[in-house]
Amino acid sequence: MSTSTQTPPSTNVPRQGISGAMRSAQARRLFPWVLGLVGLLAALGLQSQLYSGQERTVATIFMFVALAQAWNLIGGFAGYASFGQVAFFGVGGYFTAVAMSHWHFSFWMSLLLSGFVAALFAVIIGIPLLRLKGHYFAIATLGVAEGMREVVTNLTDLTGGGAGITVPTVGNNATTAYLGNDGFYLLFLGLAVLSVIVGGLVARNKFGYALRAINQDEDAAAALGINTTRMKVLTFALSGFITGLVGASYAFQQVTIFPERLFDVDITVLMIIMVIIGGSGTVLGPLLGAVALQFLSEFLRQNFTNLHTFILGAIIIVAVVLLPQGAVNYVREARRTKEFSLLANVRKYRL
């Protein structure tokens, strides 16, 4: 407003048009980061308004934001549906628990190492398994996660087996004081922010475009000079790194962890649902999907104790049928084509 009144409009129209376009392009580039910053400040402000129990619930939402973003890297951008993502979660969690209770590492040290151990694990299984496609990749990764659960259950000396392992949080054995609900709120918020930033960087990077190319046509991507194997393994490792960090934090928050929970296939399924409902291959999609689904699930759990999984199942069905491409992708397509009808959208994916 102020610039247009200061300069005479007649002479400056073309120049202003260009600089205006540049400014709007710049604004469009900066907008997501500004939005993210506002979201972060809102999350920090929210903390003072919540009581302890609610803080824990919201921390779980942040946890799933990070997990969904991590799955989106391999499943959304690269198009490799990893059904064994929870393996990294469990490996990260158990590494931290073992490091803290047996080797007396501090939590922060264990946390960082857990990320790298999970990433290394992703590289080791990724090199042979990322050659598989479609159902075969999905089932092979699922097999890895289920197998890891059994391995952890049977390494009783190290992991405590099915009886679980307890991280020392009080007394002389405690290497790091328990963070409490306030601390874990901030920790999971930090992980969510990290995952969103990683997602945002990948989405706009050459790396991200390579992954999208692999997703659309792997042979064509290889023909363009993309080292597909290296890209896929790197993505898997990055995804495993974030998931491992989250698993480690979860283990410390829970204090006592069990293989049944840390390698629960439902956690993988939740990550996938959140990404798909939000919109896979986008940054905003997994974020919105995780927040919406976790919030909804918690709401249903508190209000319809008996029927909550039943209603959740029905909502998933309706959401998938109406928006098979995910909410964010639907809005983008609808804004481009000016076709907002949900029925037309259903028709597109119907046989």
Binding site: E146, T153, I272, G313, V321, Y349, L351
Partner: protein, 262 residues
């Protein structure tokens, strides 16, 4: 083909429960399983025809997600209607054993095994010899071309899903006679049916039979010789090692492994 796998879960459990209901009316479970197969065929057909076909053009995980939603509803629904108690179907003969030399063979499991082999052979014959079977194969290879040849893809998909659900229903009835089951057992049966199908290989009708035999043998041997519950890890180890060296499963066809869409 993937719908084939996904149907398994509903069938297995509902089949068991329906067989149980049939037993309540005085039917033998090995007869009741045909009733449950028929009911589940209709259920599967309708489900695919009017619900799953709505998203069939989306990416693969969309179908998986939709059926997962169904899984949540059905399992929870069965929990509410039938309760989460463990059940089994009692017969006078299934727990008896035949003795072959020094080896005892439980009669119920032997019957179940014979039936599984017979059904596989029958299925292969139907798919390879009949027009309906060939239209299923054609739709699986190239849906567009198949539709141009006048094959009704909607009907074929629904039919395949119906057959899968019906077979799973029979399997559920058999499981009920040799072991116990409850609604939450769905997850482990789904998982195992996926593992077995992929281990054997997609695109070959004998794949599931081969995969099932391998997993069954590995688990039996592992249970005999390994300490603790290492046996549970063994099945997955075998799966991963096989896929590393044979990315299309034991007897699967490369075409079905490289195919991206369903």
């Amino acid at each position: 083909m993937s719908g084939f796998l996904q149907a398994t879960v509903y069938g297995l459990l509902q089949g068991g429960l329906l067989a149980l209901v049939a037993v309540g009316f005085g039917l033998d479970p090995f007869l009741g399983m045909f009733v449950s197969a028929a009911v589940l065929f209709v259920f599967g057909y309708v489900l695919q025809r009017f619900l799953i076909n709505l998203v069939i053009n989306g990416p693969i995980f969309i179908t998986l997600l939709l059926t997962f939603g169904l899984d949540l509803m059905i399992v929870q629904g069965m929990n509410l209607v039938f309760s989460a108690d463990y059940r089994s179907i009692k017969t006078s003969y299934a727990s008896e054993s035949l003795a072959f030399g020094g080896v005892r063979v439980p009669l119920g499991r032997l019957l179940a095994f014979a039936l599984a082999v017979a059904i596989t052979i029958l299925l292969v014959a139907v798919v390879n010899r009949t027009r309906t079977g060939m239209s299923i194969l054609a739709t699986g290879m190239d849906r567009g071309a198949a539709r141009l040849m006048g094959i009704r893809a909607r009907h074929v998909y629904a039919l395949t899903f119906g057959i899968a659900a019906g077979l799973a229903g029979m399997a559920g009835a058999m499981i009920g006679t040799v072991g116990t089951f409850n609604p939450s057992a769905a997850a482990s049966f789904t998982l195992m049916s996926f593992v077995v199908a992929v281990l054997g290989g997609l695109g070959n009708m004998y794949g599931a039979l081969v995969g099932g035999l391998v997993i069954g043998l590995v688990q039996a041997w592992g249970g005999q010789y390994l300490p603790g519950t290492w046996v549970n890890a063994l099945a997955f180890l075998v799966l991963i090692v096989v896929l590393i060296f044979r990315p299309t499963g034991l007897v699967g066809r490369a075409f079905y492994a490289s195919r991206q869409e369903v």
